[in-house]
Symmetry: C2
Subunit: 198 residues, 2 copies
């Protein structure tokens, strides 16, 4: 292709982003060329700022630009319930519901022997330190229903149960609005296992 | 949402891009956070560079970082055929086929009375200056089959025909691989009008 050099370079950079193919990358690059200098400067600054300033919350290991994150320092949250998630994106998915008012702990991964990720690679030591302090009455495991999620849940249950803290795991089953006919067997199996008295 | 500020800002910037919704914007922002500082710096530089350095080719009005674009200065191209397009993206679509070895002229728009765009808003004066010089034997109109494209083609034909230059327009009809059954009436009408002796 005969794109002028800075355009070719911008298209290439956009193509490195997940889910952006050559056509989308070209569309995005053309869009950038139509923006004001100030708008493009803002975008560029936002990229550098995010990468340079965002680290992890010292307490829950969520993404944070401060040493303690917005959620940990939010007044009015219940400190007696701790929700365990694998990644910050799972935390944000829970926050979007507005249902959960407790605290979080981000493990930053899941135990995966295949990928060589063991318990020592996750923020489990830090979790146990938090549970060692008095106050937490329930730990909710919000880990995905996968081999890694199940393995990590099993491992954590062995560590947490002896502490005498109530331990629960979020429910797996049919998503709201789904048809039994089109659900996969694993989901139906989980839904049967997790059946509740009515 | 309780995103930390630089993350919220980056997600917002990604959401301003065409075709990027809140979920994609979050995915892209998380992707950026996982890149090295150098990778993010490269992306940020590419944005600023493209916006600051890219202007228009003095000859054909394609996007270019130099005063004369890569295509106009490419050796071996035929200077006797001039292809007229509305936008640089149309030029790149033609270039991708590798079929056309002539020169281009980018009008930078189409005549649209509804949007208040007249012939004087397009690069038509510059086109006529190019055609005033000897050398061009054929002008190909590669304008879209829309009201604006047809209006612009009609206007240009009135300007160019008196110059004694061969004037053609690209063919409109059924796209390759399409079914007559599912083609829209306008496309079939155009295909009938453009029928050729075999």
């Amino acid at each position: 292709m005969s794109y002028t050099l800075p355009l070719a370079r911008l298209i290439e950079e956009f193509q490195k982003l997940p889910g952006i193919g050559p056509k989308s990358a070209q569309r995005l690059a053309f869009h950038v060329l139509k923006q004001t200098h100030e708008d493009v400067r803002n975008f560029s600054d936002a990229l550098l700022d995010a990468r340079d300033k965002i680290g992890y919350c010292q307490q829950c290991f969520n993404l944070s630009a401060q040493s303690v994150c917005e959620i940990c320092s939010q007044p009015g949250r219940k400190h007696n319930v701790l929700c365990l998630v694998s990644e910050p994106k799972d935390l944000y998915a829970l926050e979007r519901t507005g249902e959960f008012k407790g605290m979080y702990h981000v493990l930053q991964g899941l135990i995966s022997p295949l990928e060589g990720i063991g318990p020592e690679d996750l923020k489990i030591k830090e979790l146990l330190a938090r549970l060692g302090e008095p106050g937490v009455e329930e730990v909710i495991l919000a880990l995905p229903p996968s081999i890694e999620g199940d393995t990590t849940s099993l491992y954590l249950s062995r560590m947490i149960k002896p502490l005498g803290i109530r331990l629960t795991r979020i429910a797996f089953g049919l998503p709201v609005g789904a048809d039994l006919e089109y659900a996969d067997s694993m989901t139906i199996t989980r839904a049967l296992q997790g059946r509740q008295a009515i």
